[in-house]
């Protein structure tokens, strides 16, 4: 036999196939920014960016990982370590940026949810420090990687990520040729 014994279609034919972007559910939009400027140029308002930086800096001050010696800090964070200004003898990593979470709805502007500090470890990986007890909140931290409800998770998006600055950069060649044929394949 030169043909297949059976074939199926699983998606088309049963329901209309929607193009991406048509769904209007709420979505969490997260952005990882290394500066206020990067946050603003990603289309966020100055107010939201300021609020996010302040929230992340507060969390950093209260709950950053802390070490008793520079050596211990360097072990985890390389040369991005600093001694606490008030009360010496405590070492902590520098904040490398912040993670801003907003809720996107169909017909309204994004709603601020929260913002957390982000640290860059010795291997160059970014980690977000977040409170894992959303209902009761977390205390301040004097411990290492995880303490008082504070935990870390890797940041899986690029810094100052995917800021879509423009669209419609593809399609001109086909529109110039519209009227010639039904397909742009062949």
């Amino acid at each position: 036999m030169k043909r297949s014994r059976r074939l199926a279609l699983i998606a088309i034919g049963q329901m209309p196939v929607l193009l991406a972007g048509c769904a209007e559910e709420e979505k969490l939009r997260q952005g990882f920014y290394t500066s206020i400027e990067a946050c603003r140029s990603d289309g966020n308002s100055a107010e939201v960016c300021d609020k996010a930086l302040k929230a992340a800096a507060d969390a950093h001050a209260n709950a950053s990982p802390k070490y008793a010696s520079r050596e211990q800090c360097v072990q985890d964070y390389g040369d991005l370590c600093t001694e606490r200004a008030q009360g010496g003898g405590v070492w902590m990593p520098l904040m490398a940026g912040f993670m801003l979470s907003q809720m996107l709805g169909a017909n309204r502007s994004p709603a601020y949810v929260d913002a957390n500090p982000v640290y860059r470890d010795r291997a160059g990986r970014y980690n977000e420090r977040f409170c894992d007890r959303g209902d009761v909140g977390c205390g301040s931290s004097s411990g290492g990687a995880s303490y008082g409800g504070w935990r870390q998770r890797p940041v899986d998006i690029a810094p100052n990520r995917a800021i879509t600055t423009t669209r419609a950069g593809f399609g001109r060649s086909s529109s110039e040729r519209s009227g010639w044929g039904r397909s742009f394949g062949g």
């Binding site: 030169k2 279609l9 991406a20 100052n160 593809f170 086909s174 110039e176 044929g181």
Partner: protein, 386 residues
């Protein structure tokens, strides 16, 4: 090879609508046309179509490495300088490919002759792979065709298998994309996405016009998330010419078909094949046409390096007969190919589209036009092996 009139299935239009084949009729004229079918013998299929398809495919693939390593040949094929290293890198790194269609002139007797390779954005896929298969099954079930009738068609089966095989090389998310306002192209990518879902992959769709470019140089979807793999039913050379094209080499996106298809889906491959395999029974003599301003000699066809659906073809048959088709590709460099007219069967001139899926010759679909140049007015006519 015969053209045999046959009764249409009374319910085929309803089936087509139900099964996502919305472009079966265009402006009131039939595109899917099952009032007749082409009958082949098994020997014609295997000896004259399947075997040469595999051989031509291997000859073409054998040229890619040489072309992408040569500035001169890339220039000959009109590939913009900006994209050459990127194309060569994609080839060296084994950037995966999925499918292609070669167009063959075949009359049932003489060796099939290669007209061209559609290796970047081949269409007429759904109708060849799925709806044609359904036609045969139903015509057998209803007793219109004999029980032992067959068809040369493993296209869909091989598509699903190939997608599953290359899946580890495709970063997610995997997007399928075509021009928003082309129902035919949208139908084709919906079908390919269906095949990918059958291979176990999650798929998404986006219109070509909706693709964004992020500040980090990556292409983005409507949620501003980076696109990992982009199946685009949109010619590479269109992408090169568009505003976002410049970002392609640094966009960290896996394209299907891959960048190196730019050298195969280019009529410049025809003179190169002829140079390397002069006299091959399935090739027509072909040359680069460096003086398209001069009148075409008798017995030749002039085609732009890049054109689609039979646009901008100039034919000078023997005995002073000439004609040409209009189109939007008038300003491009050309090749010349020996004039080898399609055979006439009853009222139509059939062109055989022979599919290669993941390096396997996988099946055929015939499009039949009223003229020697197969244009987008051509009808898709099913085939059977009897």
């Amino acid at each position: 090879m015969r053209r045999i009139p046959i009764a249409e299935r009374s319910d085929w239009r309803a089936s087509a609508e139900r099964l996502g084949f919305h472009f079966h009729t265009v402006d009131g004229a039939p595109y899917w046309d099952e009032r007749a079918y082409y009958a082949f013998t098994l020997e014609q299929v295997e000896r004259d179509l399947e075997t040469p398809t595999l051989e031509l495919h291997e000859m073409a693939m054998g040229l890619v490495g040489e072309i992408v390593a040569s500035e001169f040949l890339m220039h000959r094929l009109g590939i913009p300088e900006h994209y050459r290293d990127w194309i060569a890198r994609a080839w060296r790194e084994g950037s995966p490919h999925l499918y292609g269609r070669m167009d063959l002139a075949y009359d049932g007797r003489a060796p099939a002759k290669l007209y061209e390779l559609n290796y970047d954005t081949p269409t007429s896929l759904y109708e060849a792979a799925f709806f044609q298969w359904l036609w045969l099954e139903e015509q057998i079930d209803r007793g219109v065709l004999p029980r032992d009738a067959d068809q040369y068609n493993l296209i869909q089966e091989n598509l699903v298998e190939t997608i599953a095989t290359i899946a580890p090389l495709l970063p997610r998310p995997l997007y399928f994309s075509a021009v928003r306002d082309s129902p035919e192209d949208q139908g084709t990518v919906a079908y390919l996405a269906d095949c990918a879902e059958q291979a176990g992959l999650a798929t998404r769709r986006i219109a070509i016009e909706d693709i964004g470019l992020g500040a980090d140089g990556r292409y983005t979807d409507l949620d501003d998330a980076p696109i990992g793999t982009l199946f685009k039913l949109y010619p590479l050379e269109f992408m090169f010419a568009d505003a976002f094209g410049e970002a392609l080499p640094t966009a960290r996106v896996v394209l299907l078909e891959p960048p190196w298809k730019a050298v195969l889906s280019n009529k410049g491959i025809l003179p190169l094949l002829w140079e390397r395999h002069r006299g091959h029974p399935n090739l027509l003599p072909a040359f680069f046409d460096d003086r398209p301003d001069l009148a075409l000699p008798a017995g030749w066809v002039r085609k732009p390096l890049l054109s689609r659906e039979g646009a901008n073809i100039e034919v000078h048959a023997g005995a002073g007969e000439r004609w040409h088709s209009d189109g939007p590709y008038g300003d491009a460099p050309c090749i010349r190919q020996a004039f080898h007219p399609l055979a006439r069967f009853d009222r139509g001139y059939p062109l055989v589209g022979s599919w290669v899926v993941g390096d396997r010759a996988s099946g055929i679909g015939l499009r039949e036009d009223d003229s020697l140049i197969t244009r987008d007015s051509a009808r898709f006519v099913p085939h059977a092996i009897l």
